[in-house]
């Protein structure tokens, strides 16, 4: 592998961009393609498949055998709401291998004391997400109960193709949320992707138990996601 490919790959991974490397098993020079960048005709189909499936493997061509490796960004959880459930979720998420960020404009909730060691952004979600946009490798968890804070990131998560979008609230609360989202232009298919009531049904009662139910639902969404439907691969 050439040094410049290694450096480009590490830069892409650090910027949360999906990348595919192509290694010639006969020893020829290697290549790297980043998701969304132009990819020559020869490799377009194979690179697109690799990005969609996330699966690395050998591709045999008339020019020889090549190994395509795929580097997808690590899954990340963005939590809207620095509430009691979020405190438990912030402790559980790293154990299961997720990066986690909490966003809440209410400075009474978003205090470093309540969230020691956690990435915490005390801003409106619209502003915070401008800095680090949602992507399809991100799970969005909206738990403030406040439409003024929750609704906009939920819409943004649906538009970005987040692999998981969950929203706290009773069925009644969710019904009124659905009406607002529909008025704001969300399609039925998008609205159908919202997990509400949030979390797998394990009869969770305490905030920590609800956090476990949410994390389990996120893991299920990640592992069972339909990679054939993923948007954004090289066309």
């Amino acid at each position: 592998m050439e040094r410049k490919i290694l450096e480009a790959l590490n830069a892409a991974r650090s910027a949360r961009r999906a990348a595919v490397t192509v290694s010639d098993l006969a020893g020829g020079s290697g290549l790297i393609y980043l998701e969304g960048d132009d990819c020559p005709e020869t490799w377009r189909a194979a690179v697109g498949r690799a990005l969609q499936s996330g699966k690395a493997g050998i591709v045999d061509t008339e020019q020889g055998s090549f190994f395509l490796n795929v580097y997808l960004p690590p899954p990340r959880i963005v939590v809207i709401g620095a509430v009691h459930i979020s405190q438990a979720l912030a402790q559980l998420a790293p154990v299961a291998g997720f990066d986690l960020t909490i966003i809440d404009p209410r400075t009474a909730f978003a205090t470093p004391e309540r969230f020691a060691g956690v990435e915490l952004i005390a801003e409106w979600p619209e502003d915070a997400l401008k800095e680090r946009p949602l992507d399809r490798f991100t799970a969005l968890v909206a738990v403030t109960h406040d439409p003024k804070i929750d609704d906009e990131p939920i819409r943004a998560a649906l538009a970005a193709g987040c692999f998981y979008v969950g929203a706290l609230g009773s069925r009644k609360t969710h019904a009124t949320r659905v009406e607002r989202l529909r008025r704001a232009g969300a399609s039925d298919a998008e609205i159908g992707r919202i997990r509400a009531p949030i979390g797998l049904d394990i009869a969770a009662a305490s905030p920590a138990e609800i956090a476990v139910a949410i994390l389990a639902e996120i893991i299920e969404a990640l592992r069972r996601r339909d990679t054939s439907q993923i948007k954004g691969a090289i066309a």
Binding site: M1, E2, L6, G27, F67, P94, G117
Partner: protein, 110 residues
């Protein structure tokens, strides 16, 4: 957790080693059959002194890969290594789990 870089990430380590002027080889699992401890795409990185980080198996074949990496670093020519089931009577290097893997070893150049 704060978005700190994973200090055990083999490719980040490889880049840091190269920056320090060390010679580096990257080993990658390119094919697996049956039960294999690490999935296709997993990396082990090795420097010219035999220091290594990451893994291509559960520790079964790393020793052999590190030995081969010294050749790859010396010659610059990549190698594809095959490892099958361990043959206990012959003390051959292999996978005790019964699987087979192929590993590409290439030098970082440039």
């Amino acid at each position: 957790m704060l978005a700190a870089k994973n200090v055990l990430d083999p490719l980040d380590i490889a880049e840091a080693w190269v920056r320090e002027g060390r010679e580096v080889a990257i080993a990658t699992v390119i094919e697996t059959w049956g039960s294999a401890p690490r999935p296709v795409g997993s990396h082990l990185v090795i420097d010219g002194e035999g220091n290594f980080q990451g893994s291509v198996s559960g520790g079964c074949v790393e020793g052999a890969v590190i030995t081969e990496a010294a050749d790859v670093i010396a010659s610059g020519a990549p190698k594809v290594l095959d490892f099958g089931v361990a043959d206990e009577t012959a003390w051959r290097v292999g996978l005790s789990c019964g699987g087979r893997i192929r590993v590409l070893v290439e030098r970082v150049d440039g």
